[in-house]
Symmetry: C2
Subunit: 447 residues, 2 copies
């Protein structure tokens, strides 16, 4: 167990015995660890502990809390002026996110107690779509005009480093606030005092538009190994910046979303939520699943004569359907992951589908042969073996095609490819697999 | 399409017509984009382009290439001295990763051409487990003794910023190289020239042990929003540091691994690999699946008399098995994601399982009622409705338990919980679902 975890455990023990004793211990904890503790506490204790924290720690802890644990409620239980004090300590983007969760009537009281400039900035940020660059950027950054000398720029660095801990980069703008490029702090330190900032500019700096999807921002930061990326509008005006830690959270969220969607869980499900939330997010998909399962059942009942005559064929139904369903899910997972880490271009679509079809054919021939031989021996009928073999190969090809083509198609029409869940895959391979197996059987064996 | 993508497309077009024409264009591309182009090219063209690049660009591009596309082969086709030149440009950790892929006989020739100190450093790094902090750290960092004055430290900053672009933090060590804490570059700039570094130290800095799992490192960097984290040994000696961009790659890898494993794909599968690689990584799981499907088939054939008598029950088999299988996969995805973003403590295990059981019960009662009523109406037999209802509820409970308890158990015994794939889930719910449905039917209806 790490030191931090040891500390968390100790604080929890103290909390159980006495609140006052906890106070000095809380001082030694990182705000992220305090956030974790707050998440785990009941509503009353949580509020008590939160009030014990100095304003600065409280503000740092509240932004680190999981959204699912509703940190905004902590603010709403304070007086508007107390809440405003905490809001003022926050980065404007975090403040905007938090305030977006607060009902309008409470919100007004808090905003009324902020400085006019802060209110403006926060209100502006609240207008951007949550899932775009504008939604995750902060307007706080280190920027200097290009006609500044090294000495003037250094003064600005010193001034700003009082307010901001990690600026990473100095952004250089022209007189209209259009982003010209960046200057590394090291390059600035090493420059002679009279050198103009514009001579130090790195113009090749990567930037994003304010409407860029947050997932795309994450991809760029990861690809170009950037600690921070500047955000601009249509005219190139510098609006803010997004730092690596913001997009790490985005990456985690998007990955959770992908995994849940593939498994047929609505993205709204809270991982730490209660059973009501879980039922609400999963039942709709299971109802879809029930419908498709009824359709599969309908296929079976259509061929009940065939099953009646050759009962052993019923035993091969779960084999043909299940193996193809799982192989479709395999193809789906690989394709979705490939899309989200790699961006498959249109010209590669057919290559991806073709590869999956080859994989499906090879696996189908191998698994179909095993299953076909088993069917022949168990049923004492070579034709039964042939039917099972053909159904198996056919259904694995169907699964391979669906598992690759459907997510690629969804991606092409700008729908999250993970919507093509394993539920959809198994529905297809169930319905078409039964149709293949029983249809072929009735054609070949029934006569 | 972004500017970068436009450029990539243009370069690809030029490459098709003339190599020489491509050279000036390559200059304007980011090494990450060049890496993408190299990945997409055939082996010969790739080698030709790679040789066109200046050593610095070549080294930056080669580390950005996907491991699956075997960047080490580019090195192996150079002369050992050319390869050594590129290796010398790399961060030691990247050099170690790349060299680890090269066969020993080629490796010796390259190492022999490096400077002794580089060789030592790289060989040391190659001894650490790839998946630990030691495996992803770089020994290059900005460190100063605690008895340095601000002025001496600033000189060191200037000296090191020639070699290293992003140092983020100044690490302060004692005379034995034991890490004492960090100093922010801003704090250093603002300090008076004669102030000792030790007076500026932030001792609360988060650090990791060299053996820490890379996933844990990623979690800490994300939790504490760190641009870099120092790595120490048992005695606290400063060995290296890990930057946010290293762990972003780790996060991507681990997420791919999770999704593939849940879908029953071996983690060795290369997303961009050929069909042979895909068959190799998926067939074993499908063979396991075939075996479990045969067991499900065996259950059906055991009850073939029952099916013979009430053929309509066959139609409800895919419903009972399929819906429960998918609801188990839902529970599995949520639980795995919860484990990997949250670390479920032992005391929470039962809470998680209990929640899933409640979800399974509620969904089971709802879906079981619909299915049971349908069975009653279609079969014209209230007892059939009851059997289907009970089987449905029972199988959803089985799915809920398996989907939560199995990954938690695996996590408890330090096995990746994602090994509990959807294949395992559907196997369980198929076999036990058929047993429940047909067993109950033979008990209740058969007599």
């Amino acid at each position: 167990m790490s030191d931090a975890q040891n500390n968390i455990e100790r604080v929890k023990q103290f909390l159980a015995s006495s609140l006052e004793q906890a106070k000095p211990l809380l001082k030694h904890l990182h705000p992220s660890d305090i956030a974790r503790i707050l998440e785990d506490l009941g509503p009353e204790t949580r509020q008590l502990i939160f009030r014990l924290l100095p304003v600065e720690t409280a503000s740092e802890a509240i932004v680190e809390m999981d959204e699912d644990s509703r940190p905004e409620e902590l603010l709403m239980q304070l007086t508007p002026s107390q809440a405003a004090k905490i809001i003022e300590e926050l980065d404007p983007d975090d403040a905007a996110d938090l305030l977006a969760q607060i009902p309008l009537k409470d919100l007004r009281h808090i905003l009324a107690r902020l400085q006019v400039e802060d209110t403006k900035q926060i209100e502006q940020l609240m207008t951007y779509d949550e899932e775009t660059a504008g939604g995750i950027m902060t307007p706080e950054l280190l920027k200097v005009p290009d006609n500044f000398s090294k000495r003037e720029a250094m003064d600005e660095v010193l001034r700003i480093s009082d307010e901001m801990e990690d600026f990473y980069m100095i952004y250089v703008v022209d007189e209209n606030d259009v982003l010209l490029g960046t200057v590394g702090i090291n390059d600035l330190i090493r420059a002679k005092p009279w050198v103009k900032v514009r001579e130090l500019i790195d113009e090749s700096c990567v930037k994003v538009h304010v409407d860029t999807d947050q997932e795309e921002v994450a991809r760029m930061i990861s690809k170009y190994n950037l600690a921070a990326i500047p955000v601009v509008d249509d005219q190139g005006h510098l609006l803010g910046r997004i730092t690596f830690d913001d997009v790490m959270d985005v990456l985690e969220e998007e990955n959770t979303e992908d995994i849940l969607r593939i498994a047929g869980v609505s993205e709204d499900e809270e991982l730490r939520g209660g059973w009501r939330n879980a039922v609400k997010s999963r039942l709709p998909w299971l109802l879809v699943n029930l419908l498709t399962a009824f359709m599969a059942g309908l296929v079976i009942s259509t061929f009940s004569d065939t099953i009646d005559k050759i009962v052993i064929i019923a035993s091969f139904m779960p084999i043909v359907a299940g193996v193809a369903g799982n192989s479709a899910t395999q193809a789906l997972a690989v394709t979705i992951r490939r899309i989200s880490t790699d961006r498959v271009t249109d010209s590669q679509n057919f290559k991806v589908i073709f590869k999956e079809l080859v994989v499906g054919l090879v696996n189908g021939l191998l698994l179909g042969t095993i299953t076909g031989v088993a069917a022949m021996l168990l049923g004492g009928n070579p034709m039964l073996g042939l039917v099972v073999f053909m159904a198996m190969v056919g259904n694995l090809l169907i699964g391979a095609f669906a598992g690759s083509a459907i997510p690629l198609f969804l991606n092409r029409i700008n729908v999250d490819p993970a919507v093509a869940s394993s539920i959809l895959m198994t529905a297809l391979t169930d319905i078409l697999g039964f149709t293949l197996l029983l249809g072929l059987a009735s054609l070949v064996l029934d006569l």
